[in-house]
Amino acid sequence: MAGYVHASTGQRGRRSGRLTEPLIVRVLLIAIALGFLFLFLVLPLATVFTEAFASGTAAYLDAIREPDALAALRLTLLAAAIAVPANLVFGVCAGWAIARFQFRGKQLLTTLIDLPFAVSPVISGMVFVLLFGRQGVLGPWVADHDIKIVFAVPGIVLATIFVSFPFVAREIIPVMEAAGSQEEEAARVLGAGGLQTFFRVTLPNIKWGLLYGVILCNARAMGEFGAVSVVSGKIRGVTNTLPLHVEILYNEYAFQAAFAVSSLLAFLAIVTLIVKTVVERRMGAAVEAVPEAAAAPQLS
């Protein structure tokens, strides 16, 4: 959604071309924007990498190769590998339901999808402790069946799913609404079944929005700290994710190691941004084709 808006305003700005503001205002505004960007984004990012390599490449590699760090990396990847597909399926279902059907409680569902955005991550984590913890509602049942959720990997996966679930749904709802359902109806009349319609017509239309949602979802899943921190219990090498591992190292004054592990997350963020930019550009192109197709007469 955000990408779509950026892309279209950018286009309009380029087209109108002329700015009325005097040069000094323009220079000032750009300077302020760039100054902020430098102070709050570029500088910290650069610090992460300089500190990470402060004691040399060997120390950097050691910090990353350390077993607890590797375990944290594995857990982070595992949580994302479960949360992202789960939220992909959920997002497509919810997006489809909201964009295509009229039903009671639709508004409520749309609002509820945003809940993880509205609620503090700490509370998101607490919810699972309260639910599955020893004193929790489902705690005794879970204990009886010898399932460990809180302070174990399942809890981390659940918390990760919770905090990252709005992304896919929120990205594809506007895309599906813009595309409309006429192409799907056309496919049905032409003899396509439900799955054929989805894979041949719906999916190609929403693929860039979907991919964009998946990227954001993945970034959140890997970077989440608060919610995971509450359910994790921070058992080294067992229930530590990368962000939690960074905090532990930092609290132990192992600054160089903390920054080295941080650099992995920072690197991940940069990759995410690059992929996101590429996808946004493709999505912008795809979205532009929509109004053109809808507005028919422009004949010579």
Binding site: E183, A187, V189, R200, V201, P204, A296, L299
Partner: protein
């Protein structure tokens, strides 16, 4: 294939989109569903295609119940108002879609698909555009691609929703002629929805006029024009002058007009209105024959072969008149002059 629509009713909440609608489309017919926007025509078309379910009533294809059948098994071709072309596919793939999604056993060979698609593209005169994407086509071209795509599955019925609605006047004229030729060639049972009476009358073998979810009239273009069944039909099919009044004892007294009206011989008076089209009025300088009214000319406009006059009667009600150029030349009346206006034809409808 023939289509029989029986007592269809469709509600959206308290709103009745269709109210007990019945009609038949005969094999090979080109039928127009004509009416104002929001009158239920598109809903009706979508129910026939299976994109919507009626609350009551049935749709029979050659006598078989079609409601239970999924749209994919109905054998209909549907052309959407905004074409609904698959925008990520080329023109060729759009047309080939219906063949490619068939179950493997019924799917033609790739070479056969190519042959069929190319044949259809040349039928709609677009064979040179197969590799383009819909966004690269003009409105008229998209329309024809949509038609080719619908025909690719060899439907037994073709349904078109406002097929020319989104096109400019010249292209619309062209496509209209072209569609009529096509229909004459392949003789496919076809139903199209339109709010343009000219389009319906020019193109269709039969016209079903729908308003507020009900059928107002079902007949040939000539029938609906010459013998409109309701005041709505008279109004909808073109400009008309209305004379309000009442009927009693075999006479109609409609403002300045007095006519014979044997349809209502009773002594009880009923309110009624007479309808007369601008070209059904004669204008003269004298009242030799009677049966008309005196009026003053307020406007004269020459529009090609016809002359449009606006006159007002003694009570300042405006009346529109259309005369042939020669007729006008023969009376030579101008603005401000008094003339005698006599309707050659008045259709009288009693109020319900």
């Amino acid at each position: 294939m023939s289509i029989q629509v029986n007592h269809l009713t469709k509600r959206y909440g308290a709103f009745r989109a269709l109210d007990d609608v019945s009609f038949t489309v005969r094999q090979g017919e080109l039928l127009a569903l004509l009416g104002p926007s929001g009158g239920g025509k598109t809903t009706l078309l979508r129910i026939i295609a299976g994109l919507e379910r009626p609350d009551e009533g049935s749709v029979l294809f050659d006598g078989d119940d079609a409601i239970r059948r999924d749209p994919r098994d109905r054998g209909v071709g549907f052309v959407f108002q905004h074409y609904a072309l698959f925008r990520h596919m080329t023109v060729f793939e759009n047309v080939a879609f219906g063949l490619r999604v068939r179950p493997r056993a019924q799917r033609p060979e790739e070479a056969e698909i190519r042959r069929r698609v190319n044949e259809l593209l040349s039928l709609v005169q677009l064979d040179y555009l197969g590799s383009r994407y819909p966004s690269q086509l003009s409105g008229g071209q998209r329309q024809r691609v949509a038609l080719a795509r619908a025909l690719a599955v060899e439907p037994k019925v073709l349904l078109l929703d406002e097929p020319f609605g989104a096109l400019d006047a010249k292209v619309r004229q062209e496509l209209r002629r072209w569609l009529r030729r096509l229909h004459a060639e392949i003789h496919l049972t076809s139903v199209f929805v339109t709010h343009d009476q000219e389009e319906a009358l020019e193109l269709a073998n039969r016209v079903v006029i729908i308003n507020e979810g009900r059928i107002e009239q079902d007949g040939t273009p000539e029938e609906v024009v010459e013998h409109p069944a309701t005041p709505f039909v008279v109004n909808f099919l073109g400009q008309v002058n209305i004379f309000h009044g009442r009927v009693q004892e075999g006479k109609a007294l409609l403002g300045p007009l007095a006519l014979e009206y044997p349809e209502h011989p009773h002594t009880e008076a009923r309110t009624a209105a007479g309808y007369s089209r601008p070209h059904e009025l004669a204008v003269s300088r004298t009242d030799d024959e009677g049966g008309g009214l005196w009026a003053v000319i307020t406007d004269v406009r020459v529009a090609g072969a016809i002359v449009k006059l606006e006159v007002i009667d003694d009570e300042r009600r405006p009346i529109q008149v259309e005369l042939g150029r020669e007729q006008y030349e023969s009376i030579r009346a101008t603005v401000g002059e008094r003339v005698y206006v006599k309707p050659r034809k008045v259709r009288v409808f009693m109020d319900k």
